[in-house]
């Protein structure tokens, strides 16, 4: 009873949010899962439960292997996106860590794309990645780098690698911020101890500093990786919804336009599972790490 009086008000403050999230996150996910197990393939509604049929169909009976194609696109996009942001983010953070005059200015510029929406930056990237003579192709030509000219995202095999470039541009600054915070979180004593031992700058970074950044690198990989799986705005803005650049998140939208609710739901659930596989262990891990501090 005493506990009740002590914590009742806390529960009062918290419960509306808990109820809303229970309904709008978990309830609606369950609802989507239920739709994905039914045969609601048009606006006339569902005739009933079909088990995992929609999932099996996506992998085996989709016309032109459309779903597998969207997964392949997503894979290429994700690899380029991850490698690009991690390398640039680490390099920029390293440059600032080594001490650059006007660091605040560099940091502000590197991070500014984060304040812009993919829809807005997509406008300029569509222009830059003009498959004909304009945009970046014109720059390459001007600098005698004509061999770099290419058809960008319209390339049927590797177009998705080009599509990842705007995403790299947009999020490298974020990864830089994570790494920079990592560098700055390393205790000064550790650096001093290494210096006392006569470690060279190279060895200091190789053996002392970079190993300390592993948790930061893991966070960055997971945050950027899960963003990649959800990528929607950028692709809609640069190419629009079309076969060449379709990823699962866009496919859901396309399936809904044709009122194929069950298919859209099945793709959504697969997407959710993909994200959950990386996010859930991460949440549990950070939770533990926090408790052990």
């Amino acid at each position: 009873m005493r506990r009740m009086r002590q914590w009742g008000p806390g529960l009062l403050l918290l419960s509306p949010s808990l109820i809303l999230l229970a309904v709008f996150v978990y309830g609606l996910i369950a609802w989507t899962a239920k739709v994905s197990l039914s045969d609601e393939h048009n606006a006339r509604g569902s005739k009933g439960f079909v088990g995992l049929q929609n999932y099996v169909d996506l992998f085996t009976k989709d016309i032109n292997d459309r779903f597998l194609h969207s997964l392949k696109n997503l894979l290429i996009f994700t690899v380029v996106f991850l490698v690009g942001t991690m390398l640039l983010g680490l390099l920029w953070a390293f440059l600032l860590e080594r001490g650059v005059k006007g660091e605040g200015f560099f940091r502000t510029v590197y991070l500014f794309p984060m304040a812009v929406s993919f829809v807005a930056s997509g406008v300029v990237w569509r222009w830059l990645m003009n498959p004909a003579d304009g945009g970046l192709n014109a720059v390459f030509d001007g600098f005698g780098l004509g061999f770099l000219q290419n058809t960008w995202w319209t390339n049927p095999d590797w177009g998705m690698a080009a599509m990842a470039l705007p995403a790299v541009w947009q999020l490298s600054g974020y990864v830089m911020a994570l790494f920079l915070a990592g560098f700055r979180g390393i205790p000064q004593e550790l650096r001093e101890a290494a210096a006392m031992d006569g470690a060279s700058t190279y060895r200091l970074y190789r053996n002392v500093i970079f190993p300390q950044l592993t948790p930061v690198a893991l966070s960055a990989l997971i945050i950027v990786g899960h963003m990649s799986m959800k990528m929607f705005d950028l692709i809609m803005s640069v190419s629009g919804a079309q076969w060449l650049t379709e990823v699962p998140a866009v496919y859901v939208w396309q399936a809904l336009l044709t009122s194929d609710y069950s298919k859209a739901a099945a793709i959504s659930i697969i997407l959710l599972l993909l994200v959950a596989v990386v996010i859930v262990p991460y949440l549990i891990y950070t939770n533990r790490a926090e408790k052990n501090r």
């Binding site: 440059l95 830059l128 003579d133 304009g134 911020a177 945050i223 939770n287």
Partner: protein
């Protein structure tokens, strides 16, 4: 700076001078600055294109001289873009401001309770809350569309306010929980309790007044997310009642887009969030860092 409160540390502050390299060479610094400036140019290049193209007249957009400054500076493309975007621009303020305020207040209440109240299973509940900010929203969109049509809420901005407030709960709760856990001393709460104040009164009279830095972070974060959102907007609104991202996509996504007007439109769309970022960058980064869960 004459701001109402000092920004919470973002973790990016310089704490130590890097170890001086043994060889005080000239080559190292040259490479360092060359790289830093090269990437500065790369990052700013799209911004250059946006600005330059937006001041060209529609007929100056050809293949040759694309990268040049306008031969004749004109704001006609800005006028055209503004005419197309103006209603949605104002609607987006009606969306983003309430979302920022409501989400922040809810987040403050939740964060306060979760930072002080170690009830059994608190970690599991917190993890379940956090998971909500990582889900691909497609996984809730199909039933969400049915719900908002069935509860008779006005389509467009009112619907989007509701949705952004709900799905903004996790991130705002996280930011405030970390804020309270690290900046509000336990003694303060204990003293308030000694004076006989209950949890609600402690929250309202003691905690809220010292929460301004947390509020600035969540308000900026939610304002930016609502302003830049396209996913909820495309599923739950249209060009007549939706926010600016929808309007911009309609302007720029046409079959043969007017690039000058599109780019002026992209700049108009980005202006509010860019102004916030430039003026209140430290708080913006605070929200950004909180998004990676760790406090």
């Amino acid at each position: 700076m004459t701001t109402v409160a000092s920004a919470p540390p973002t973790g990016l502050e310089k704490r130590s001078t890097p170890p001086p390299s043994k060889r005080r060479g000239i080559v190292g610094p040259i490479i360092k600055y060359a790289l830093a400036i090269f990437f500065l140019i790369v990052v700013l290049m799209p911004a250059y294109v946006l600005v330059v193209t937006s001041f060209k007249a529609g007929n100056e957009i050809g293949v040759t001289g694309q990268w040049n400054l306008p031969s004749q500076w004109t704001v006609s493309s800005w006028g055209k873009a503004w005419d197309a975007l103006q209603p949605a621009f104002l609607r987006t303020f009606q969306l983003a401001i309430p979302v920022a305020l409501i989400s922040s207040l809810v987040g403050a209440a939740n964060g306060f309770v979760l930072s002080r109240w170690r009830f059994p299973g608190a970690d599991v509940v917190f993890t379940l809350i956090l998971f909500g900010m990582f889900i691909p929203y497609q996984a809730v969109m199909i039933p969400l569309r049915e719900i908002v049509t069935s509860i008779n809420i006005q389509p467009g901005i009112p619907t989007l306010i509701l949705v952004h407030c709900i799905y903004g709960i996790p991130i705002c709760t996280l930011i405030f929980r970390n804020y309270y856990a690290t900046t509000v001393p336990e003694d303060l709460i204990e003293a308030s309790r000694m004076d006989g104040a209950g949890l609600l009164r402690t929250f309202g009279w003691i905690i809220l007044p010292i929460s301004i830095p947390g509020f600035v972070v969540t308000i900026i974060w939610q304002f930016t997310s609502a302003w830049n959102d396209y996913l909820f907007a495309i599923f739950l609104s249209n060009t007549r009642n939706g926010p600016i991202t929808i309007a911009l996509n309609a302007l720029a996504g046409a079959q043969s887009p007017d690039y000058a007007a599109s780019m002026a439109g992209a700049l108009i769309t980005s202006l509010p969030t860019l102004v916030v970022y430039i003026l209140l960058g430290r708080w913006f980064i605070g929200g950004l860092m909180a998004g990676s869960v760790k406090s």
